[in-house]
Point group: C2
Chain length 363, copies 2
């Protein structure tokens, strides 16, 4: 595609920044957003950074009816030297296009959108919180905008990037969670959209999540939709187990999301000389390993929590307490290493970070 200029329109009314000690997740948004349009004649056109504002669309816009939409999630971090870093953002662009392909949405120019994302973060850099564990959450998303009630791919789309300063996932230090193995509801199945980051996967997960929360569990562990036997992933995390020293995680089978944290974890573990297998893992295998005292660690991986140790798994009425409910050694080391790289405190041997701005330079 041809190189396109990104036009910038600054806001004339900057919003007050939130109290940095009182940040939640995904409720407060910055002063600007990135927008780009698509139509069949022009392709993706008019990339621009404009003041954060409402979206106004016809009630017949296809996204409201048929859910033709995809999204991404990544974060910007401030280092101790006041540099603003992104963590593997090109991976998110790549995955956005994989999702686009599955949802029949026209592919984006990954470089152009990444450039827009970087410029946006640089413009709103004063919004990035600096305290331990805080960051700027970045949400690119695409929606089908054609006002048409037929079930077909839209002929027009809009891409947005919005930014939200977010608090620490672990307010009192990294803490293991309780996760329920889901027996009734199914998130995704081979041939469906499980490996795309698209709205419907999350809509279909709400019911199971609600039931789990009522019972005091933080998330559900999904099993495969075909045999309800093989482990897939958690709400918005991939999952890893350490069994008799071997680290295992479900293979990419078409129905789980290919997490970027998952990929970073596998790379790091191998780099440390540990054995990692991507393969089918049945829930029976996990239960048996637990009974035999061989289930040493369990943890989830995802952008929000980075590493989320699992202290207890609930399967029907059976409770499997893992590692006395404490954070395991590997979980801790992965968490420290990845957050260290993200915050510029650990050597970035894999070239995972990209600097987009500095808070110390006078703009």
């Amino acid at each position: 595609m041809m190189k396109q200029d990104i036009r910038v329109e600054f806001t004339s009314a900057k919003k007050p920044k939130p109290d940095p000690h009182d940040l939640a997740f995904g409720r407060i948004f910055t002063d600007h957003m990135f927008v780009m349009d698509y139509d069949a004649d022009q392709g993706w056109y008019d990339p621009r950074i404009i003041p954060y504002q409402s979206i106004s669309m016809d009630p017949a816009a296809m996204v409201y009816h048929y859910g033709q939409t995809v999204f991404e999630g990544l974060k910007a971090y401030v280092t101790k030297d006041q540099e603003v870093l992104l963590f593997r953002p090109e991976k998110n662009m790549e995955r956005l296009n994989q999702s686009n392909d599955r949802l029949c949405i026209p592919l984006i120019d990954e470089e152009l959108v990444l450039e827009g994302l970087k410029q946006l973060v640089a413009i709103d850099k004063d919004w990035i919180p600096k305290a331990e564990g805080t960051s700027l959450y970045i949400r690119p998303f695409i929606i089908a905008t054609e006002p048409f009630l037929g079930v077909a791919a839209s002929h027009t789309y809009k891409l947005f990037i919005i930014l939200s300063p977010v608090g620490s996932y672990y307010k009192e230090g990294i803490k293991p969670v309780k996760i329920a193995v889901e027996n009734e509801f199914v998130r995704a199945v081979k041939g469906g959209t499980g490996n795309a980051k698209t709205a419907g996967n999350y809509a279909s997960s709400l019911k199971a999540q609600q039931v789990a929360e009522e019972k005091g569990f933080s998330q559900v562990l999904w099993l495969d939709g075909i045999e309800k036997k093989y482990i897939e992933e958690v709400g918005s995390m991939n999952i890893f187990f350490k069994i008799s020293g071997e680290i295992v995680t479900p293979e990419l089978n078409g129905s789980i999301l290919e997490g970027i944290t998952r990929n970073s974890v596998i790379t790091l573990l191998k780099h440390w000389g540990l054995t990692v297998s991507e393969r089918k893992i049945s829930i029976d295998e996990i239960i048996q390993a637990h009974r035999d005292g061989r289930l040493e660690e369990t943890f989830g991986t995802g952008t929000a929590a980075v590493i989320s140790p699992v202290g207890e798994l609930i399967w029907n009425d059976e409770s499997l307490v893992i590692g006395s409910g404490e954070t395991g050694e590997i979980s801790k080391k992965l968490y420290d290493t990845i957050t260290g790289i993200q915050k510029g405190a650990e050597a970035d041997v894999f070239g995972w970070t990209t600097e987009v701005a500095s808070l110390s330079e006078t703009k």
Copy 2:
């Protein structure tokens, strides 16, 4: 729930009506729409009919990200006596609430929304086209509106009803279609959202539909997601087969939509003294029946086409021509009877129609 008044604000700028001979599906909308809001304090509140207008929402509104949305589809018809009839609208309200339940959306007062729907159709009754086969398509839908990027049920919603005058599905008389049996992609699976009318099901169907259209087929026939063996339904229709005189249709198994036309067809067939079975039907059974010359008819059922005879099924590279590619006797009789009832030309023995307005009375 308490009875609520529906407030009405008329448009001051009526739009020109479309050429009745040139109506497509779902591209033109009438002068007004019904809207109602939900929040946790007030429940569903402020039901109102207002001028048709854009929806303006925060870019973080949950529907854009997590697809928490449901919809319905039904039609209003004009009889030869100029009466406006709805066909089993209470069934659509019931199904909307079933979908709400699956998607963790607060239930609606079915009577209130049906009352709003009727008033809306009455107000925009001049938009209902009168020619053979034309009708007014009615689209109720609910979207999650809370500006929040966490994966959870929204705390606020909007319900809309919009209206679209639509042309005849069969411009040159009822005509059999070619349908491809889908082998790769899956629409829904038990434990998922297949039996709810929600966005994600349609988003996930686009890819298969696109491939089928490129090959010259009008729709795909979905198989179950578990064994890829049992017949489920077509894009937006349920499916029926007549084999050696017996009429069969897939049972309601949790992954197919419970079509209202399907229900009407079963009722009519039984009323006529025919045998109808709701059961599992494997694709092998259909192929074998065809080879043995026992597959007498195949047809889809849905609000859009009412009855859509299938003239040819494609399974891998095998083509199954059904009834020499002509419309079968049962298909024809069902089509004539149901459209007759809808248009007030046939006796409505089951009490399926509801009058909402008359075009002859001076308003």
